[in-house]
Each structure stands twice: as C-alpha cells, then as structure tokens.
C-alpha cells in the first residue's frame, strides 16, 4: 500500500478519534508505546490513555496543515511528522502544534503507535 496514503489515513483516524472519542485512542497504543507530551513522558497503553483522557479540556478540534512520512527501516515501520492547529472549545485563538508518530505494523495488517512526541508551537 502507498505509504503516503497509509500516513494520511492514520493521521485522519488518529485526530478524528482524539476529537470525537478520545478513549478510543487506546486501540492505537501497546505496552511498548511511548508518549512525550510537552516534555512529560508516559509508557504503555494505560498510562498514555490516562494522560490523553485527563487533559484539561473536553472538546477540541485538530486542523492538520502538513503531513510528511518516511519508512523507518526494514521492519515496515513508518515515521509521520504532522503540523497543525488545535482549537479548544471556548478559546478564541487556536494553538499551533507539531507531532511525530513512529508507526509499526501489527500482524493484523494495521499499525500501532510505538513512539509519539507532541509539542505546542508557541509564538
């Protein structure tokens, strides 16, 4: 399958899930997964989902500006580099962010997130 198509499909799925069913993100992580969220580190599905579902806002909407991807090596992994905007309900101005994912294939033919790093881009 075309790697660009895979990356775009993953990004759409990830942010739609984040914006409409945040607890559903758990399906995208495994025990070995790592998240760095604004410098804070988490490992494993429970810890990562715990952080994402306890962020101090209920509603949000991600708007994606750029998606770049590259294969990471012989194991079929893919690196995805995203930039975009995060609009929080009730806030006048959207926050800008960048995020990188390292996706690894699952035996069932989909991908899970092995590495996830998120940073807001301040003015």
């Amino acid at each position: 399958m075309d790697p660009d198509a895979v990356a775009k499909a993953f990004v759409e799925h990830y942010y739609t899930t984040f914006d409409t069913n945040r607890a559903g993100l758990a399906n995208l992580y495994q025990d070995t997964s790592m998240l760095s969220f604004e410098g804070q580190k988490f490992q494993g599905t429970q810890s990562i989902t715990g952080k994402l579902t306890s962020l101090p806002f209920q509603q949000c909407q991600h708007g994606i500006t750029t998606v770049d991807c590259q294969p990471s090596g012989p194991a079929g992994g893919m690196l995805v580099f995203v930039s975009g905007n995060l609009q929080l309900a009730g806030e006048q101005h959207a926050l800008k962010f960048s995020q990188m994912f390292h996706l690894m294939p699952t035996p069932q033919g989909s991908f899970y997130v092995l590495n996830d790093i998120f940073r807001l881009n301040y003015a």
Binding site: M34, S36, G39, L79, F81, M100, H102
Partner: protein, 125 residues
C-alpha cells in the same frame, strides 16, 4: 536507559546544528546512502542529493536556536527518534523563522549515529 537516550538526542542536536551553522558541508558525514530527507515537503534520498540540497539553500549564514529536544528509543537496536523545535535566524533578516524537525538516528557501530530519517518543516505564524 531513558537518560541515555536523552543524552544521545541532546548531543546529536548540538552537533548537528553547530555543523549546520558553522561548517554546513560537513553535515554530509551524518548521512548514509539509505538516508532520507524531507525538507518542506520535498523528498531527497542519499548522501549526495541531501548534501546538495542543504548546501544550496538560499542563504549563506544562519543560526539555529533550539527551544525543545525530545528523544525516545525507536524499535531498532540502539535507534533514537529525536524531535526538535526552535528558531532559525537568517543573516540580514529581521525576524527569525520557527521550525520543527525530527531525526531517526541509527548507531554506526563505531560509537556514533547517522541520520536515517530527517524531516524539516517551518512553522508559520
């Protein structure tokens, strides 16, 4: 293990941007034939083409100022993913450009790392 990965990331970032800002032609030493660069959406592969792209950027002098460095071990033995954000000051320009960049570093076997994956994006206002 975690601290070691952070140290590798920071040491690499210091070295990379120091070379970029002071001796850009030397960046070639950090890439190998399998290396890939995506620079503002443009895809480039291999040492020669990556080196050519970086050396032909339309500015002679620049200075990178790094705001954040995050590192994690990747799936590969000793591999490290590094995520950087910062500012790029071009000589003669009034305002610095903001950027984000990610690297996937693979051990060379001789105690250092090369850049297998490199993606760069400016962050516009």
């Amino acid at each position: 293990m975690e601290e070691q990965v952070e140290m590798v990331g920071k040491a690499f970032v210091d070295h990379y941007y120091h070379l970029f800002d002071n001796n850009r032609t030397e960046l070639v030493s950090l890439y190998q034939p399998t290396s890939m660069l995506t620079f503002e959406g443009q895809r480039i592969q291999g040492v020669d083409d990556i080196s050519a792209k970086l050396n032909q950027l339309p500015f002679d002098q620049c200075r990178h100022v790094i705001s954040t460095v995050d590192s994690q071990p990747s799936a590969f033995a000793g591999g490290v993913v590094v995520f950087v954000s910062g500012c790029l000051q071009l000589h003669g320009e009034e305002h610095p450009l903001r950027f984000s960049q990610m690297f996937h570093l693979i051990p060379t076997g001789q105690g250092s790392y090369f850049v297998q994956n490199d993606m760069f994006r400016l962050n516009y206002g």
